[in-house]
Amino acid sequence: MTDVVMPQMGESIVEGTLTKWLKKPGDRVERDEPLFEISTDKVDTEIPAPAAGTLGEVLVAEGQTVGINTVVARIDEGGGAAVKPVAAATAPSPAAAEAPPPPPPAAPPIVEEPAPTPAEPSGPLSPLVRKLAREHNVDLSRITGTGAGGRITKQDIEGYLAKPAQPAAPAAPAAPPPAQPAAPPPTPQPPPQPPPALAPAVVPPAPAGQAKTRIEPLGTMRMRIAEHMLLSKRTSPHVTTVHRVDMTKVARMRERHKAAFQASYGFSLTYLPFITRAAVAALRQFPLLNASLDGNNIIYHNEIHIGIAVALENGLIVPVIRAADEKNVIGLQRAIVDLATRARSRQLKPDEVQGGTFSITNFGSFGSLMGTPIINQPQVAIIGVGTVDKTPVVIDDAIAIRSICHLSLSFDHRLVDGALADQFMTRAKQVLEDWSEEVL
């Protein structure tokens, strides 16, 4: 028995109206055959069946509006013989972690959702799979995935192609329950209709020989990061300018107050609040760098909210220091420590990672001299902070040892020209080089 759920059709969409059942209870349905239609926001969508079988109970009537992931019907794959399991929960979110490897095949039917979203029954497709399918003109709906979450793998397509001109063989009514663990196929080629198994997170071994690759689905955060980075690169023509900043004064001040700071506040004083402070001063003077571009309009943000990139184990997140212009070095350092700590323990609230107007990323802490950061959309610029190193430099025809840092500014050339970007950086550099504000 497979639950059919109201799919999530978009991030902002929390419910949908079931407008039409295309099948009646008792009707035979094939996997991927349109089963019902929903309507959300003037968009009508046909939802395909997540599994083949007989449409059992219909729990939501036409015209009813229900939240996403609500079970709207059940499909009985076993021709009515299957015992109704208790294990069938609501569908996991699309990228939810898969269950641990289930017990061996002979186990009683442990039923799980074959695919997270019925709208995309084969699960997310990798670009490789999509390309293969396009090149060979393969109708992906005819292939049952054996990958994690039932997604279609390259092997599935190759297996399909290896069997020429096969009809869309419907699964036999007596097909095994859907969640038969994906035991390695007994034959070198995957069978044409393996059960739409919820494979464990481990991808089945390659059909023959030693595997040369290992395929692992992206996690939610990685997927978000990938989308965001691509979106940003596609949206903004990035230009990066690099300025060398003499941090000697700041370094001395930091050295002087380090111990007292740690003692009074319980966290250490880094370069980052100084750089943030300098960025704020420059943003005040050049508000175009604190703006966004919306269609043909420039949106100037009157408040300065600075995003600070924080590296996590498998990704990164950019929590935002609100009203950064109202904070001194101590306040900024406190905010940075607090946000970074909570980011790493995943305790940030959603609104703490939104609404930034400018960002700073500190790759210097990983030893990078300089970099070309990607703009955090819809902002128009980001500062990348390199390492602060003692370096010999020429000052008034003499060689001196100074604490040097390279600051990179990536900016959106749609809105900001090089001249402005460099004036902005010159201002920030000036604040840092002539640091005058007392810290403690």
Binding site: E11, K42, D44, T45, P48, A119, A133, S141
Partner: protein
């Protein structure tokens, strides 16, 4: 292009798009007088009997798009994007907002400040509706789309309650812009390319002749 013919063309392109051998498409066209009913449409929003319609030269089609009832006719730019949203964003809300943005940007180019009204899909100039949206999605492939009143004879809307809303409609001509459907369609195609981040190549779909 006749509505029925356009519908068949869309269906053909959608099937091709699903198989992957047709790229994303944007059909821009004009229909002769026609009233269409969306999947959730209520016939009571049709204010004239079929006989009155046929004597006024208006045909009538129930369709599978979202939305209620609407009118298409000469002077109205109709756009049918056939897109695979899996290659854009799998988000129907975002898709509709993006369509609205294309129309808002196009109108801005003519000095018309158009916008959205929360919960009322479409594009509005103040309280008047200038463009209607109704979409169908199957396996993330879109069909149907939008209709922008360029110099539509608005009196035809008297036969219906547009999209089931008792709000007035308007057109670019009524707002003082003299532009032809052709001109607007070129501008709109450019904005479409920008909002959806794709290159627009003009052309008529293979194997189709327009009349």
């Amino acid at each position: 292009m006749d509505y029925g013919k356009a519908l068949a063309l869309q269906q053909e392109l959608v099937a091709g798009r699903k198989q992957g051998y047709v790229p994303d498409q944007l059909l821009l066209l004009e229909h002769p007088h026609v009233i269409t009913l969306g999947r959730n449409g209520r016939l009571e929003n049709l204010l004239a009997g079929e006989q009155a319609l046929s004597s006024a030269g208006i045909s009538f089609y129930p369709t599978d798009r979202g939305g209620d009832i609407t009118y298409h006719g000469p002077g109205q730019l109709v756009g049918y994007p056939i897109l695979d949203l899996r290659e854009w964003k799998r988000d129907v809300g975002e898709y509709v907002r993006a369509i609205e943005q294309v129309i808002i940007d196009t109108l801005a180019g003519y000095g018309i400040a158009a916008g959205r009204i929360p919960k009322l899909t479409g594009v509005w100039v103040e309280e008047r509706k200038i463009a209607a949206i109704g979409v169908h999605i199957s396996r993330w492939v879109t069909s149907h789309g939008f209709a922008l009143n360029v110099d539509t004879d608005l009196s035809y809307f008297q036969y219906i309650v547009p999209c089931g809303l008792t709000r007035p409609v308007t057109s670019m001509a009524q707002l003082g812009v003299r532009a032809t459907v052709d001109e607007v369609s070129r501008s709109l195609a450019a904005h479409f390319g920008r909002v959806f981040d794709c290159e627009m190549a003009p052309g008529s779909p293979a194997g189709v002749t327009e009349d």
